[in-house]
Amino acid sequence: MVGRPLDETTLVVRAKHGDAAAYEELVRMHQAIAFRVALVAAGDRGDAEEAVQDGFVKAYRALGRFRDGAPFRPWLLRIVANEARNKRRASGRRSGLALRAAAAASGDAAPSPEAAALSHERRDELLAALAALDSRDRDVLVHRFLLDLGEDETAAALGVRRGTVKSRTSRALDRLRVVVGEERP
């Protein structure tokens, strides 16, 4: 493909008609977020990588059933997250992902003023508090805030309804406040 990058809807239509290059472009567009969602669900890098590969293959095979005009990313994340959860269950591993704060913001962009204002101690404290939460609470907060997914995308990735994401997020924030000592249990 040359010239102006094609938008996602066009790529999906082309992929549905068997354009493998268009599907590869879709994979490249979404593999980073898909990998992180899989990592959260699988709790293991190798399984996450496999889940992403298998998820993209399954999504390709299911493209014929994908509704034209629907958002592609939540649909894809649902498939990938399902794959990752299946791999975690098959391995007998419990949910859990150790997150660390980098010394500097990821990417080339300068950190936002909010990020810069967050002290190293506070970063570590928040990540430790997230790790201490129940996996359902932690996962919804990681998806909503650390992965910056919308409610629909979080619902798709977690395999729950949007209303559940709302209520679970609210409860999880309350529990996180307790863990960081900002509110009494």
């Binding site: 997150l99 660390r100 913001a105 990821s106």
Partner: protein, 241 residues
């Protein structure tokens, strides 16, 4: 949005995520693959149904009972992870590999594009064909088969479907060989099942041990089996273009 939510959002770019792997090379979607269909055609749906039924029957019979954990498609092959393997017979059933013939006759009767034997290798000791379904090259070592290379037509073009039952101990490596999706299987025995054009389900025991390379050649699946390491199997596949 309250302070804690602000802090979590501010934390997002500071989280150290593992580097995202480029998964494109591991996704075996040949450029010549037919477009995904909105609904499987009746005949294709029937083929799938027969395969699933056949697998279900095979897996329901002790000691072949097993749990299907996962599917991975490669060309006309379906790899099925299982937790237990059915018993294997120790030799390749030559009947399943078809009638012994010449290379020219096999290519004429195959009904699908057949790659020649690998360049730079001794010619196969035997060429066998099942018309419209399979062409096999065999290299013998006395009574044993040292190397077996089989070509079968793709899933969407023909009715022959290959299924592989893989126990968890078998290692599956996904490869790209000059643009073709491939998988390399090592680490233990596996069974092979074939669905004939008549809908009958046939067990193809293949090799008890050794390794298998499956290459999706866009409509044809190349299967290389023997006591091979990955490099040697890939070398053979490359010599068959």
């Amino acid at each position: 949005m309250n302070g804690l939510e602000h802090e979590l959002r501010a934390l997002a770019p500071l989280v150290e995520w593992p580097e995202t792997p480029d998964v494109v090379p591991g996704i075996a979607i040949p450029a010549t693959a037919p477009p995904p269909r909105r609904r499987p055609s009746r005949s294709l749906g029937l083929v799938f149904a027969v395969v699933l039924l056949a697998l279900a029957v095979a897996l329901a019979v002790p000691p072949a009972r097993t749990a299907i954990l996962d599917w991975l498609g490669i060309g006309s092959a379906r790899i099925v992870h299982v937790d237990e393997l059915p018993p294997l017979r120790p030799t390749v059933s030559l009947e399943l590999l078809g009638e012994r013939t010449t290379l020219a006759d096999a290519r004429r009767r195959a009904g699908f594009p057949v790659a020649p034997p690998p360049r730079g290798e001794p010619l196969p000791d035997e060429v066998r064909v099942v018309g419209g379904r399979r062409v096999s090259y065999l290299w013998r070592d006395g009574d044993r088969i040292r190397l077996l290379i089989t070509q079968v037509p793709g899933l969407l073009q023909r009715t022959a479907i290959l299924g592989k039952l893989i126990p968890p101990s078998v290692k599956i490596e996904r490869l790209m060989i000059d643009g073709d999706g491939a998988v390399f299987l090592t680490g233990g025995p596996h069974a092979v099942y074939l669905l004939g054009p008549s809908g009958s389900f046939e067990e193809d025991d293949g090799w008890l041990a050794g390794s298998t390379l499956l290459v999706d050649r866009g409509g044809t699946t190349l299967r290389i089996e023997g006591s091979l390491d990955r490099e040697r199997a890939v070398e053979l596949a490359r010599a068959m273009t």
